[in-house]
C-alpha cells in the first residue's frame, strides 16, 4: 500500500514537472515576437516632421494608434507593448508622420502573431531592423 502511494506521488510529481515545462514553452511560443522601429525626423511631401515611421506601424480603429514596447518589472515578461493613441500629421511614400509619442519610443512595426488588447507581453526581435 505504502509502495503504491509512493509510486503514485512520484508519478504525480513527474507529471507536474512535465506540465510545468510544457506550459512554460507553450507560453513562450505564444508570446508574440515583434520588430520595433523608433520614429525619426523625416520628410513627407516636402514637409519636415519630427516623428516619421513606416505606415504599417500605425493601426486605425476609431482613431489611429500604435503599439509602444516598454520594459516591465515582471521577471517572466520583461517587455510588454501598450496601445498608444497618436495623431497622424501626414502620410505618403509608405511613411506616416505622427504626433503624441515620446522621444526614443519603440514602436512595433511587425508582429508574428496578432496583437489584441491594451497591454500585451511580447518578445522583441533582437536582430537589427532594416
Amino acid at each position: 500500500m505504502n509502495r503504491t502511494a509512493g509510486k503514485a506521488i512520484a508519478v504525480f510529481l513527474l507529471l507536474m514537472l512535465f506540465f510545468t515545462f510544457a506550459s512554460h514553452h507553450l507560453d513562450a511560443l505564444r508570446t508574440p515576437r515583434v520588430l520595433c522601429v523608433t520614429p525619426a525626423p523625416g520628410v513627407i511631401g516636402g514637409e519636415r516632421y519630427d516623428a516619421v515611421m513606416p505606415a504599417e506601424a500605425v493601426y486605425l480603429d476609431k482613431e489611429p494608434y500604435v503599439y509602444v514596447a516598454e520594459d516591465t518589472l515582471s521577471y517572466f515578461y520583461p517587455v510588454a507593448v501598450r496601445r498608444a493613441t497618436v495623431r497622424v500629421l501626414a502620410t505618403g511614400d509608405g511613411l506616416t508622420a505622427v504626433d503624441g509619442l515620446y522621444r526614443e519610443a519603440r514602436v512595433v512595426r511587425y508582429a508574428d502573431r496578432a496583437l489584441a488588447g491594451g497591454t500585451i507581453p511580447v518578445r522583441v526581435w533582437e536582430e537589427e531592423a532594416p
Binding site: 514553452h25 507553450l26 513562450a28 511560443l29 504599417e56 509608405g94 508574428d112 502573431r113
Partner: protein
C-alpha cells in the same frame, strides 16, 4: 531476461538505423524563403521593389511565383504589408522557418534521450539504494554501526559519488530543457485551444495549398513528414531501449539481493 536483451538490441538497431537515415536527409536543409503567388507577377515585383531594397532581398521568379530567399520571421509580414500598401491581392507562403524546423527534427531525440537516461540512472540508483537499506538493516542487527560503515564504506562512497554525479547531470539537463527554444512554423500554434484539429488542417492547407504549391514547397512538406516520422521512431526506440535496460538491471539487482540474503542465512 533474454527477451529484454533482444528488445534492447532491436531498439539499438532501430535507433541507429533511423538516426543514420535522418542524418543523411538532413545533410541538405531546405532554404528559408517566402513565395508570393499573385495573378500579376510583374506588378507584385514592382510593389515589392522598395521593400526588397530596404531589406536587402534578391527576389527571383520561379514558375508561377515570386520567391524571396530569407530566414527572417518578419519577411512575410513585410511582404504582406508592401503588397497591401500597393493594393494588391496575393497569396504569401511563408517558409522562412523551414531550415530551423527541419534541422530541429534531427535533435529532438537528444531531449527525449536525456529524460529517459536520467530516469534509467535514477531507477538504478533507487534500486541500489533499496538493496543497501535492506543490507544495512540486517547488518545493524548483528554489528555496531562503525563496523558496518567500515565494511560497506567503499560501496557507500561509490553510491554517494554516483548520486552526486546524477544530481549534477539532472540539473544541467533540466536547465538545458528549460532554456531550449523550440522552432515552430509560423501560424501553427492556435490562439485558442491546442486540441483543435480543424486549425491544423487549415494551417496545412494554407501553408501547402493543393495544386498551388511550388516544387520546393512540396519537397519541404515531404521532408517535414519524413524528418518527424524518423524523430518519432528514434524517440520510441530510445524509450523501449531504456525500459528494457531498466528491466534487465532490475532483475540483476533482485538476483544479487537474493544471493546476498542466502549467503547471510
Amino acid at each position: 531476461m533474454r527477451r529484454r536483451l533482444t528488445v534492447c538490441a532491436l531498439a539499438a538497431l532501430v535507433f541507429a538505423g533511423a538516426l543514420g537515415w535522418h542524418t543523411l536527409i538532413l545533410r541538405e536543409l531546405p532554404e528559408g524563403r517566402v513565395e508570393v503567388l499573385a495573378p500579376n507577377l510583374p506588378a507584385a515585383e514592382g510593389a515589392l521593389a522598395s521593400a526588397a531594397a530596404e531589406w536587402g532581398w534578391e527576389p527571383a521568379s520561379e514558375e508561377g511565383c515570386f520567391v524571396i530567399p530569407s530566414e527572417n520571421p518578419f519577411a512575410a509580414p513585410a511582404i504582406r504589408a508592401a503588397l497591401a500598401g500597393a493594393g494588391m491581392e496575393a497569396q504569401v507562403l511563408d517558409y522562412a522557418w523551414a531550415p530551423a524546423v527541419v534541422a530541429q527534427s534531427g535533435t529532438l531525440w537528444l531531449g527525449w534521450g536525456a529524460v529517459w537516461g536520467l530516469w534509467l540512472v535514477w531507477s538504478l540508483l533507487w534500486a541500489q539504494g533499496r538493496t543497501e537499506w535492506t543490507r544495512a538493516q540486517a547488518a545493524l542487527e548483528r554489528q555496531y554501526p562503525a563496523q558496518y560503515l567500515s565494511d560497506a564504506g567503499v560501496r557507500l562512497l561509490a553510491g554517494a559519488i554516483a548520486l552526486a554525479a546524477w544530481v549534477v547531470a539532472a540539473i544541467l539537463a533540466l536547465q538545458w530543457l528549460w532554456r531550449w527554444e523550440p522552432a515552430l512554423p509560423s501560424g501553427l500554434l492556435p490562439e485558442g485551444t491546442l486540441f483543435d484539429p480543424a486549425h491544423y488542417c487549415r494551417w496545412a492547407q494554407n501553408a501547402f495549398p493543393d495544386g498551388r504549391c511550388s516544387p520546393c514547397g512540396t519537397a519541404l512538406a515531404d521532408k517535414l513528414r519524413l524528418g518527424h516520422a524518423l524523430a518519432a521512431v528514434e524517440c520510441g526506440a530510445l524509450a523501449a531501449g531504456a525500459a528494457a535496460l531498466r528491466g534487465i538491471a532490475g532483475s540483476n539487482h533482485r538476483n544479487g539481493a537474493m544471493t546476498w540474503q542466502e549467503e547471510c542465512e
